[in-house]
Symmetry: C2
Subunit: 249 residues, 2 copies
DNA sequence: GGTAGAAGTTGACGATGCGTCAATGTCAAG
DNA sequence: CTTGACATTGACGCATCGTCAACTTCTACC
C-alpha cells in the first residue's frame, strides 16, 4: 500500500487540500514524502484518517480530534471507538426525528391544522437530542481524559501503568485459584481497576460492562490479561459485570 | 403568540446571537420591534425559522437558504419541503452506514483481520452517500430555480402565471366532460403543466407524480384547481401519474 | 531528447457562521 | 431607587478549509 494524495482523497471522499491542511496542522502526516516532496500515504495513515473523519463528522474541533487520535492506550482507543459508534447512532436517530417533524409539519399544513411551537421544533434542539457532540467532546469527557493523562508527570504515568499491571497480576492469581467473580477479593480488585480506568474516563454502568466484554473478546486485550494466567480476562469480564451493577447508569 | 428573542431561542435550540445574526443578514426579521428596540417574534417567524433550520441542518449556505425560504410559490414550497424531508432521510441512512462502518472496523480490528481501504471508508464518501447537500443545493436545482424566476421580468412572471391559469381552466373543462386522464387532450395539457413547472424545477418521475398527488390531497392546492370545476385536481393527479411514466427516473 | 499536460508543491488571502467581549440601555421586582 | 437580568449594537476573532497564483515534476508521446 503506497498511495499518493489523490488516491487517498478519492478513497476517503475529501479533497487533497484537506489532506495538505491536516499535514500542515500536524494532524495527519504522510507516511513519507518522495524525493520530490510528494506525499505518500500508507495503511496506518488511512486508519488514522478514518478515525479523524468519524470525529469530524461529529463536529469535534480538529485540535480536539488531534488529542483524541493521538492516544495510544488501547483501552482508551477501544472505549472511544465504542463511544463514536454510539454517537453516530444518536445522529441517525436525530435525523429520523427531524424528518418526522418536517413530515408532521407538512401534513398539518396541508390539512390546515395548527401546530404548537413546541411541536414544530421537536428534534431541533441539540441539547435534548444531542447530548453528544458539544457536551460530550467539547471540553469534557475525552478531552479531559487526554489532558488528565498528559498532566501526569512521566513517573506518575509509569506508576499508573504499574498499578494496572499489579491489578492484572493479582487477578491472574485469583483466576488460578478458581475464585468467584463476585467474591470480595475479586471485587476489590475490580474496584481498583475501575479507579484505574477512571483517571481518564468515567464509564457508566453499560459502558463499563461493555469494556469488560471487550477485554474478554478482543484478542489483544485478552492477551494482556491472560498472560497472567488463562481465564484472567474472562474472570475480569464477569467481575466487571457484577461490579457494574453498582454504578449509576 | 408574541415571543421575545430568548423564548424563540429556547424553543428552537439556537442562541439569541444566532437570531440577531439572521436578522442582521436579512434572513429572519422579527415580526416587530418594541419601542425599546427589542425583537418580538410571531408564528410566521417560527415557521420560517424551522424552515431555515432544516436547511442549515443540511449544510445549505445561509444565502442560499435565504433564496429558498423566500420563495412564495406554494407549489415550489411544497416540493421543496418534500425534498428536504427526503434529504433528512438520506442523512439518517448515511449515519447508519457510518455507524456500521465503524462497527465493522472495530470487530475486524478486534479479530486482527485486515481491511481493504475501500471497506474502511464505506459511507464516508459524501459523493456516493450524499447526492443531496452540495450537489443538490450548492448552486443547482433549487438555487437555479429561484434565480430563474427572479430573472424573469414582471411581465414574464405574469405571463407565466397566466399560462398556469390557462392550463388549469382547460383542465377544468376536460374534467367537466368526464375526459380520461390518458386522453390526448388531457395529456397535452399535462405536458404544458410540466413545461410550466420546469421553469424552476425539473422533477423526475417520482417527484412529478408526488406533486400530482399533493395537488389532489392538499386542500389549498385542490382548491386552486377545483375552482375550475370539481374533480379537476383529481384529474390532474391521475393525468400526471400517466405522464410521469414517460419521464426519466 | 524535447515538449505538452496533468498533477504535485508552497504560500497567501478569503468566506462562512456565528462566539464572544465591550459598552450601554431598559424592564420588573423588592 | 437600586439591583440584577436580559436586551441592544458594534467589533473583533476563529476554525476549516476553498481558491487562486506561481512554480516544479512526472509521464507520455513525438
Amino acid at each position: 500500500m503506497d498511495l499518493d494524495i489523490a488516491a487517498v482523497a478519492r478513497l476517503a471522499g475529501v479533497t487533497s487540500r484537506t489532506l495538505r491542511h491536516y499535514d500542515a496542522i500536524g494532524l495527519l502526516a504522510p507516511a513519507a514524502t518522495g524525493h520530490d516532496g510528494r506525499r505518500r500515504y500508507g495503511d496506518a495513515e488511512l486508519l488514522r484518517l478514518q478515525h479523524i473523519l468519524v470525529l469530524r463528522e461529529l463536529d469535534v474541533p480538529l485540535d480536539t480530534v488531534a488529542s483524541i487520535v493521538d492516544t495510544d492506550d488501547p483501552t482508551l482507543v477501544a472505549a472511544l471507538m465504542r463511544d463514536h459508534h454510539a454517537a453516530l447512532l444518536a445522529r441517525r436517530d436525530r435525523y429520523a426525528a427531524l424528518a418526522e417533524t418536517v413530515e408532521r409539519t407538512l401534513t398539518r399544513l396541508e390539512k390546515g391544522l395548527p401546530m404548537t411551537a413546541d411541536d414544530m421544533f421537536d428534534g431541533f434542539d441539540g441539547a435534548r437530542y444531542e447530548p453528544e457532540a458539544r457536551e460530550r467532546w467539547g471540553d469534557d469527557a475525552v478531552d479531559r481524559s487526554n489532558a488528565a493523562w498528559r498532566r501526569l508527570s512521566p513517573e506518575e504515568q509509569r506508576a499508573h501503568l504499574a498499578e494496572h499491571e499489579a491489578v492484572a497480576e493479582a487477578l491472574g492469581r485469583q483466576a488460578g485459584t478458581g475464585a468467584e467473580p463476585g467474591s470480595p477479593e475479586v471485587q476489590a480488585l475490580v474496584a481498583r481497576h475501575h479507579a484505574w480506568v477512571s483517571l481518564f474516563w468515567t464509564p457508566g454502568r453499560e459502558a463499563y460492562a461493555g469494556l469488560g466484554r471487550m477485554y474478554a473478546e478482543d484478542p489483544r486485550f485478552r492477551a494482556t490479561y491472560d498472560k497472567h494466567g488463562d481465564g484472567t480476562a474472562a474472570l475480569l469480564r464477569d467481575a466487571i459485570a457484577v461490579f457494574a451493577e453498582t454504578l449509576p447508569a
